[in-house]
């Protein structure tokens, strides 16, 4: 299915929660309000002609100039052979979004990574801990304004 059509279906159903359609990305993306993301994802997974059964990738992006933090969901459907990108833009100061781990369990790990590296907090996540960095690491390394630490415990970094 065309991305444009998916966008239309979604806006028809969720109204103002579906904010924008970006055609310049590849694959095209839909910007979704962060309150509705779980419902949108759930709908995309379960709707008959959409069947986005797989969450291909979940990434967090630091959009420093806009003062936003984006979480990007790459969804795919193997049966329908289409892909779509969902984006939620969050306040960079305190990025909070609800977890989609209830829709796709794999998101639990992706979200932990996003939390670990960019400090996005996923509300409702059962086990939001650091995953790649040591548990007592300070700061979120993938943020653009990240300051490299000089020391970690007794080691020079």
């Amino acid at each position: 299915m065309e991305a444009k059509k998916i966008y239309e279906i979604l806006s028809g159903r969720f109204g103002s929660a579906i904010q924008q359609f970006q055609e310049n990305t590849l694959p095209p993306s839909i910007v979704v309000g962060h309150q509705a993301i779980v419902e949108v994802c759930d709908f995309l997974k379960k709707a008959e002609e959409l069947e986005f059964l797989s969450l291909i990738c979940l990434s967090a992006v630091d959009m420093q100039e806009k003062g936003k933090m984006a979480v990007v969901y790459h969804l795919g459907s193997m049966r329908q052979r289409h892909t779509i990108v969902l984006k939620v833009e969050l306040d960079r100061g305190s990025p909070h979004v609800r977890t989609v781990g209830t829709v796709w369990p794999v998101a639990a790990w992706y979200e932990r990574e996003a939390y670990d590296l960019l400090g996005v907090v996923f509300d409702g996540h059962p086990d939001l801990r650091r995953i790649l960095m040591p548990e007592d690491w300070e700061g979120y390394p993938l943020r653009k304004d990240y300051v490299y630490p000089k020391r970690y415990h007794t080691w020079d970094v």
């Binding site: 781990g101 369990p105 639990a108 790990w109 932990r112 996540h125 059962p126 086990d127």
Partner: protein, 190 residues
């Protein structure tokens, strides 16, 4: 064995006797319960050695096979699998020490006199003869009833043990079923 000059015989006897007594003392005196269980190994081994010196090679070998290969392992397993066997510290408090000494002295006195009283039939040194066949024959003729009774007892014990294990399994299964029913409310493991 007894064809070997008696000095060697004696030497071995003292060796095994010393080993038995020393390790038996360790069993009693060691504070670490696992270590004392393992010390029992040497006690049993020493006893087996004495059996062999007495010309009872079959009994000696059976002692090693059953007591060390079987009973010992069971004891050690039991000790090891017991709760907190790491931290169990056996205190020899003064009261128990005194009581233990007294009862030990009494027991040994009784045994000593018993040994002295029995009119032992001494057969002297004889070339070692195979004991396996006579033992087998005796077990199947004169001592058939005790032998069979012992077997029945063992089978009973085994069945009992199996039953105990099974009942524990059953309880465990019920608990598991109950857990499964309540599982929906538990949080998901990430």
């Amino acid at each position: 064995m007894s064809a070997v000059p008696s000095t060697v015989h004696l030497l071995f006897f003292y060796f095994f006797a010393a080993m038995t007594i020393a390790s038996a003392l360790l069993v009693v005196l060691l504070r670490n319960i696992v270590q004392s269980a393992f010390a029992l190994f040497f006690t049993l081994f020493g006893v087996a050695g004495i059996y062999i010196l007495l010309g009872a090679d079959f009994v000696g070998v059976t002692q090693v096979l059953i007591y060390i290969g079987g009973v010992m392992i069971l004891i050690v397993f039991g000790v090891m699998l017991t709760h907190n066997s790491y931290s169990v510290d056996i205190f020899n408090r003064l009261g128990t020490l005194v009581m233990g000494t007294i009862s030990a002295i009494v027991t040994f006195t009784i045994i000593y006199y018993a040994i002295r009283q029995v009119p032992w039939r001494l057969i002297g040194y004889k070339a070692s003869i195979p004991t396996t066949r006579p033992i087998g024959t005796l077990l199947m003729t004169d001592y058939l009833l005790p032998f069979e009774l012992a077997s029945v007892l063992l089978v009973l014990a085994m069945v009992g043990a199996a039953y105990l294990i099974r009942s524990e399994l059953r309880v465990g299964k019920e608990r598991k079923d109950r857990d499964k029913r309540g599982a929906g409310l538990e949080r998901k493991d990430a």
